[in-house]
């Protein structure tokens, strides 16, 4: 039984992120230990035995009619990117290097680079899923949302546009 295109898109993103291999920042800073799918982000997702965890979290998908028998799906999802961060102190006058903010920037860079890599045909890694576009809408590093003891965390909100026949969602 074939799965939906939406399912294929999510799995393609998960697989794509799983393939990140760090090279001390030349291309990427982090190799994720796990790339998980979760209905929401909880403490349970941040397993302290792991160093770097990326989580995919679903959100709304908007459907728009493109032609008589074709639809667009604009599928939003959130990525929560977390890496272990336990410095002796976060004193801003004597900050650790890298500090929390730098780690957030590194993870956000890694994932944007991986998803929007233009060294091959853009988005070709989606295969035959009919994906037309992928945009990063928001990068959220605000402490009110991301400050956790033991972890540096950053959220990315992305939208994936794909088209499909009405009869083949």
């Amino acid at each position: 039984m074939a799965e939906s295109i939406a399912e294929g898109v999510v799995e393609a993103i998960r697989t794509r992120l799983e393939g990140i291999a760090e090279d001390n920042g030349a291309t990427y800073w982090f190799t994720p230990d796990r790339v998980i799918r979760t209905p929401t982000l909880t403490e349970q997702c941040l397993d302290a035995s792991l160093s770097t965890i990326y989580a995919l979290i679903p959100d709304e998908e908007e459907k728009v009619e493109e032609a008589s028998l074709t639809l667009h799906g604009d599928m939003r999802l959130d990525l929560a990117l977390a890496t272990r961060f336990a410095p002796a102190s976060e004193n801003p006058l004597n900050p650790p290097d890298p500090d929390r903010w730098k780690l957030q920037n590194r993870m956000a860079r890694d994932v944007q680079r991986r998803l929007l890599d233009d060294s091959t045909t853009p988005l070709s890694w989606f295969g035959a899923l009919g994906v037309e576009n992928l945009e990063v809408l928001i990068i959220d590093r605000t402490p009110e949302h991301t400050f956790l003891q033991g972890w540096a965390l950053v959220f990315l909100r992305i939208v994936v546009r794909y088209s499909h026949l009405v009869s083949a969602p």
């Binding site: 959130d78 928001i138 959220d140 009110e144 959220f155």
Partner: protein, 54 residues
Amino acid sequence: MTVEELEVLVLALAAQVARLETRFNALYPEEPIEEDQVAAGFRKYRARAKEREG
């Protein structure tokens, strides 16, 4: 049925209702389930993102 019998019946029903209420409150406490810090941060982020998108 006499008034006295009716009173006994009402008291018995009231006692039964009280027992059921006690059981219901034990099963469904009014205290909200405590949200962990990670979930709370994500909920705030998501609410803000949706607000921005209108």
